[in-house]
């Protein structure tokens, strides 16, 4: 059942009522090739079987570029190149020199940050504001942070001599393409491993651009290899006998498959998987600030965030006021052209993902939850979804249990602290959580009791290269970022 926005204050209907003058970022800065080959052994090489996949701009549905599909033979070649890169160069090099190469990558990325941002937005559909201010700077910072670790590993693990594992296979998702590539590559390289990395098939562009930056940085051949392709390329990589480490970010189902597939091997595994984070608002919270935080928690990157605050638990005494303010704020969110600097919510990454989100919206309505969406005007072309929330959601509802990976918020209420801890932890996931309250002791109590790898207090969706990220339970294992992020790439 649909509910109307019943605000007593006349809301500023910026989304629908007001028309903003367009403020588009120019796409001229992005030099996009028509076709990309595989980056193996320091060279661009065509795929053995000659197949390519088209990638479209999800905001316009127009073709953007085509990228090679790596087959088993290409994977074989890349792993061999990475092994050679490890034996011949990388493991013999001093930490100091390794670090200098990684610093160089960070600097070259910073210099080309605008081009990377534009590419990221054209390829994946995220607002230019986010790729420009969040994805790309964070990716640069990640390389800069880990570069500094390369010559300090003897200080990293008390009473142990840390050694690299060898060849790391890394598979990244489509929601933060370059940032995830940085999260994977930077620590692997700093700890002395060589890499074969496969980006997601719908968003390979910035990772391919990163390959050319790595080439420009003059890294020894084979230290970083980039293979594009879809699921089959990924599984060939996971199964390859000569890799020593797998780092995967993606769905829980695929993560489980990887654990099954590698059970009999000695491959060290880290998995960063799905989530269904609770964002918990207590009655003493600074309400307007919490509304902003909840909006940022679920609508950041169209909700394509594994740690998205997709379950809102609001204390019953403030629920009606809070939900009204949330609806008012949602009405002001601009949905549309990701290249427009005013856009808050860009394009859904793919037609398939939009379908999945719409299925959940239909399901929520069918299950009897109350549906509300903003009346934002959507572009004619491209994949778009209005910011959506559901109230009267049952704890057992699939809306409250399953990861939707879209701009859809499930709202539940609670009375006591014990109750909300129980409800928040009642999910197979455990990636992140948010707590909004004015009381410091409550924050630390909540943080201690919530089974989640990252807890944001009076904040949400903050990331930093110095801060470890990763899950409890079925959200995976291992940490990326910070000192703890070194450990998955080392042996002793």
């Amino acid at each position: 059942m649909a509910t109307k926005n019943k605000s007593t204050i006349k809301p500023l209907r910026l989304g629908a009522g007001w028309k903003y003058a367009p403020a588009p970022e120019s796409s001229a800065s992005a030099q996009i090739q028509h076709q990309y080959e595989l980056f193996i052994d320091g060279k661009w090489q065509p795929p053995k079987k000659g197949a390519y996949l088209e990638s479209i701009n999800p905001a316009t549905e127009k073709k953007l570029y085509r990228a090679a599909v790596a087959t088993e033979q290409d994977v074989d070649k890349a792993v061999a190149a990475a092994q050679k890169g490890f034996d011949k160069y990388w493991k013999k090099m001093s930490g100091k020199d390794r670090g200098k190469y990684i610093f160089r990558i960070a600097r070259l990325m910073q210099e080309q940050a605008r081009e990377l941002s534009v590419m990221e937005t054209l390829d994946g559909g995220k607002p230019i504001r986010e790729s420009r201010d969040i994805d790309i700077p964070l990716a640069c910072n990640h390389f800069f942070y880990y570069a500094g670790w390369a010559d300090k590993l003897e200080y990293a693990l008390p009473n142990r001599t840390a050694k690299p594992l060898g060849v790391a296979a890394q598979i990244t998702p489509w929601n933060f393409p370059l940032l995830m590539a940085a999260w994977k590559l930077a620590p692997a390289l700093a700890t002395g491993n060589t890499v074969v990395l496969k980006p997601a098939e719908t968003t390979s562009l910035t990772t391919l651009k990163l390959a050319s930056i790595i080439q420009e940085a003059d890294l020894p051949p084979g230290v970083v290899n980039i293979l594009t392709g879809a699921g089959e390329t990924g599984s060939a990589l996971v199964r390859h006998p000569n890799i020593n480490k797998i780092a995967f970010t993606g769905s829980t189902a695929v993560g489980k498959w990887i654990q099954q597939e590698t059970a009999a091997s000695t491959k060290k595994l880290t998995l960063e998987l799905g989530g269904k984070a609770a964002n918990i608002v207590f009655s003493d919270a600074p309400i307007d600030q919490a509304v902003e935080g909840v909006v940022n928690g679920i609508f950041f990157n169209q909700g394509h965030v594994c740690c998205a605050g997709s379950r809102l638990y609001v204390q019953e005494s403030i629920a009606s006021v809070f939900i009204q303010k949330l609806k008012d704020r949602m009405a002001t969110l601009l949905v549309g052209d990701p290249m427009d600097k005013n856009t808050d919510i860009g394009a859904i990454n793919s037609a398939a993902q939009l379908d999945k989100i719409n299925q959940y919206i239909r399901l929520g309505k069918k299950e009897g939850a109350h549906h509300y969406e903003s009346d934002a005007r959507l572009p004619q072309k491209g994949f778009f979804c209005r910011p959506t929330l559901f109230t009267k959601v049952a704890q057992s509802s699939r809306l409250a249990q399953e990861e939707i990976f879209g701009p859809v918020l499930a709202i539940l209420t609670f009375r006591t602290e014990d109750e909300v801890i129980e409800k928040a932890n009642n999910t197979p996931y455990g990636l992140s959580a948010g707590v909004w309250t004015d009381k410091g002791s409550r924050i630390f109590n909540m943080s201690r009791r919530l089974k989640a790898g990252v807890v944001w207090a009076n904040a949400y969706n903050l990331f930093d290269p110095a801060s470890p990220f990763g899950g409890y339970k079925e959200s995976g294992y291992g940490r990326e970022g910070g000192w703890h992020g070194l450990y998955p790439y080392l042996t002793f």
């Binding site: 009999a264 410091g440 943080s447 944001w456 801060s467 079925e474 294992y477």
Partner: protein, 297 residues
């Protein structure tokens, strides 16, 4: 055959240890503990799937209290276990000898176990300082990462009947986890005698549960159980490990492998055994930006 004036010995009934109680296996099944010559010494419970389930329930119930206890208090309790073991070491040496160990080996096994407990008792309130971090993030946030116990942990005890068992148990509970120990099928007498020690050492009910039986038979039930967070396997056999990893994917249990050959080697004891069974939690807390006006006080 007893001689005319001999006292008739009172034999001990070996049972399971679940939730602070000593029940028999619900299945009524048993197997024989044998001495070096193959003679029967005692009957042992052949634990069942349902016994595992009971033990997991007890461990889950105990987790909240145990993981929230002061680290200092956990250290004292581990130390108390060592004290209790020390005072009963003759019993353990005798039991190990009865199961075929030489007297000197049995002594070494027992004192090794006591010393290992002391080692980990001391770690209880120290590993956090070494493996937690305060992270210098770029925004105005106090950001820190701490170790937290994984939760309910199943320990497949190694062949070393006392020292090996204690060496996997101590780091697990030192880190605030609760445990279900599946004793090695053979030489399992002192696993149950250890339960008597634990029972008189202020270890809260359910923190350690000990079952005797066939590890291979129980493995699938434990690996697939949704309320287990992690499993430790210490056998060398790679096929055991591979099966375990496959069965554990249902809820992505952490599978930890400690393939140790010589449990007497002090290199096997380290805080890394504790951190192997810890999760890392990162908290972001805002820092107010008021006053100061650029002065450095």
């Amino acid at each position: 055959m007893k001689k005319a004036n001999d006292r008739i010995a009172v034999l001990k009934t070996y049972k399971l240890y679940i939730g602070g109680q000593f029940p028999r296996t619900e299945s009524g099944r048993y197997y024989a503990a044998l001495d070096a010559k193959g003679n029967k010494i005692a009957n042992l419970c052949l634990a069942s799937r349902k016994d595992c389930r009971e033990a997991i329930g007890a461990a889950r119930t105990a987790l909240g209290n145990w993981s929230m206890r002061a680290a200092y208090n956990r250290g004292q309790i581990l130390y108390r276990i060592a004290e209790m073991l020390e005072s009963r070491k003759d019993q353990f040496i005798a039991e190990l000898c009865a199961q075929g160990m030489s007297r000197s080996a049995a002594r070494k096994e027992t004192v090794g176990a006591i010393d290992r407990l002391i080692h980990y008792a001391g770690w209880c309130d120290k590993y956090q300082a070494l493996f937690s971090t305060v992270n210098p993030v770029a925004s105005n946030h106090y950001n820190f990462s701490v170790c937290e116990p994984m939760g309910v942990v199943v320990l497949f005890a190694p062949e070393s009947p006392l020292l090996g068992l204690v060496s996997v148990l101590a780091p697990c509970i030192a880190g605030g986890n609760t445990a279900i120990v599946i004793a090695h099928q053979f030489k399992a007498l002192c696993a149950i005698s250890l339960a008597e020690v634990l029972n008189s050492s202020d270890v809260p009910v359910g923190v350690v549960n000990i079952l005797t039986g066939n590890q291979a038979e129980l493995m699938p039930w434990l690996a697939e159980h949704k309320d287990v967070n992690a499993i430790v396997q210490s056998q060398k056999d790679p096929s055991l490990l591979s099966d375990l990893r496959k069965k554990a994917t249902g809820n992505l249990k952490r599978v930890i492998h400690w393939p140790v050959i010589d449990w007497h080697d002090t290199a096997v004891q380290s805080p890394y055994r504790i951190t192997d069974l810890q999760e890392i939690k990162t908290t972001w807390h805002p820092i107010q930006q008021i006053a100061g006006s650029g002065s450095s006080y």
